[in-house]
Amino acid sequence: MGKIFAVVVVAIAIATAYFIVGHVYWMPEDISVHGHVIDEQIIETTAGAGILFLLGQFVLAAFVFLYGDSKGKRKLKAWPGGAKPLIWAAVVLIGIEILTLSFIGSKAWGAVYFSPVDPSALPIDVQAEQFAFYFRYPGPDGRFGGTHPELIDEGSQNYFGLDPANDVAARDDIVVASLTIPVNKPVLLTLHSKDVGHSFYVRELRIQQDFVPGIMIPIHFTATKTGKYEIVCTQLCGLGHYNMKAYLNVVSQDEFDQWLKGQSSGQ
């Protein structure tokens, strides 16, 4: 029975390693400026953790295979050195791994949260609500109009509660249901929620940030590849959580300018 156990454990370990090393299921292509640091960290961690995983399973399997029930015939041995070498191995190996990963990790984290915002970044106001994302551009006047929760009227698409009757800055704000941005240009999103907690997740951008009601949260990034990507909600927000998404369209600067002009003139 022990020998079967050992074989099963080894088989499971190898199968798992195959799926991971072979990238059978893997991250989509990174399209952000900061993403490659995160990807490197994931690969380092996969390697380090993977070795520990395989070692752990193989040693367990080996011992179970070798030291199965001898019905009292075999003389028992103790692991030479006792607990001390094991403790040292754990402290040193894991300690080194922790320090390395923390060091690299702080660089990756800093790239997202502690890098300064480019002053020319395109500002876009993002509202999450049950169950859609809406994006607001400031329009030709470059200013966002004020938002008033009591004026929100979804039937007339006034998701942000703008007051164009009285607020001049709000009249040219462009509100759309997809996020269109130019490639290779810094973008500054300000996230806020209309109702409950939501989250902004774009796999290809390697960005995930919760929307917290009551707080406006800025995130900034630069997309490096044109294409159509999905923004999905990852914070449980109610019954429509599974169906809460928007498309991210990364287009050339020319296409973006044309699109923006079209939106403004359509108002």
Binding site: F63, Y67, G68, L76, L101, A111, D195, Q209, T234, G238
Partner: protein, 593 residues
Amino acid sequence: MDQASTQKVVPHHEPPHSFIRKYIFSLDHKVIGKQYLGLGLVAAFVGMALSWAMRIHLGWPDASIPLLSKLSSNGAPGGVITPEYYLSLMTMHGTIMAFFVLTAAPLSGFGNYFLPIQVGAEDMAFPRMNMSSFWITFLGFILAAATFVIPDGPPISGWTAYPPLSAVGPDAGPGQGWGQNLWGLSIACFTIASLLGALNFLATTLDMRTKGMTLSRLPLSVWGWFITAALGLLAFAVLLPCALLLMLDRLAGTSFYIPGGLVLSDKLQPHTGGSPLLFQHLFWFFGHPEVYLIILPAFGIIGHVLPTFIRKPLIGGWRVLTACMVLIAFLSLVVWGHHMFVSGMSPYSAMLFSVPTMFITIPSIIAMLIWIFSLYGADIRFSTPSLFSLGFLSLFVSGGIGGFFLAQPSIDSYLHATYFVVGHFHFTMGMSAVFAIFAGFYYWFPKMTGRLMNETLGKVHFWFSFIGMYGIFMPMHFLGFAGHVRRYSALVDDYLIPLIPTQRFISIVALIVGAAQLVFFFNFIWSYYKGKKAADNPWEATTLEWDTASPPPFDNFGGRHLTVYHGPMEYNVEGSKGDYVMQTSPEPIGEKT
């Protein structure tokens, strides 16, 4: 206090005579332990059935489960699960499993039954408080079950119940009216019962040990329960106000967690000034230690069961493993923010939480190395409890590895709220802890009932569970790498469509593994009445519970007051007559304590 007997108080309560006193409102820790185990088994069945409904729906969203339409005509019209009902099933699956199965069974179930016996006491320090703890827990379970029969159904906010979704009431969605209220009351009951239970465990361990039972001779299972109880006092004490503030926001018009200006169901919510992050901090301050409250008794049980089946003491004796458990318990209190890396709390705090999270790996890995390397040169007996213990080792290695990724904030940016997390916590809690519970069941069943469980059925149960559970939860890590978001009731996004076949595979394996658990239920019930009679010490183990009848008499030792001479792991000691020496055997052997 360390070196001598500290049995200050002997709670001498008379044996009960009436049916109610014997089996229902019993003061006997053994009956209470069995009641907790019974509740855990019923809750496990309910929690598992909920997961079957979830898995069927995820794989085949149009499937009709007629039983559900009888339970809720709104939630499953025609038997087809609606998006909100899926979330209700998911919320109660998590709540019931995390609290009423994983926290109740190994700690309150086995701990109540065996801690007094293993320290040589007649009962717990406070039998009446013990009885109340069980019945308050039972009430909590009834309240949780009641959410299924009220018109609006169970809450949909997950076992984590983040506000504002959980706080603003029915405007947030179905189930967010009385469902969430009952849920909050259920949690409050469970919390109060756990706090009372923790006091009992601590007092009994410190003050009721029999003569010769020094702290250094305590079985590792007792250390596991003791450390868990201490941690539980600190953690549950924060959950109670966390839940209370939520109930106040819901019912008393306060705004602890709800900011102003929120519009739900076209209505401006009448709250202002609160912070959803406050809830997250309070909840996870409890929630992270909670997962260690689940795994530490498992560590204790494995540390207790394994030496019996490898016929060797563990490397480092009781000291190293206990030190690991203490360090884990302590560190678990300072890492809660790793559930909140992308929550909007200050990015600086991410590094503060990440480093201790990674440091917890060190005592965990030391514990794993102790167990694995104790197998070196051993003589392993492969009975069902031993298989589940060995399986635990493999599963915990796998589960722990996932933690490496999630502990790093920038990697967590990608993996947070994906199936990677679901795979990780099911490995550590849903598999490892459950395997330790099974090991405990198969190991202690003979002592509790006087009969043996069927070995063949036990091995069938083990193999299907071991291979099957890998088949369910390892692929979830792969799905996580692909960015598959969790808590989705249906897979409609473009990038999820190609992952549907994998979800279907997981669902099929889950149903097979579910069926295998029925083998365990059947084995349990059948063996209870018809199992082969067990001797007092069928596993040839050393600790005090094996030095009494199976099942133990009312006062645990039949009027004897035991004296303890040795530690709990005297297997294959040099110079001893047999291959094991019981703790209560006066046979002298050269040993250091």
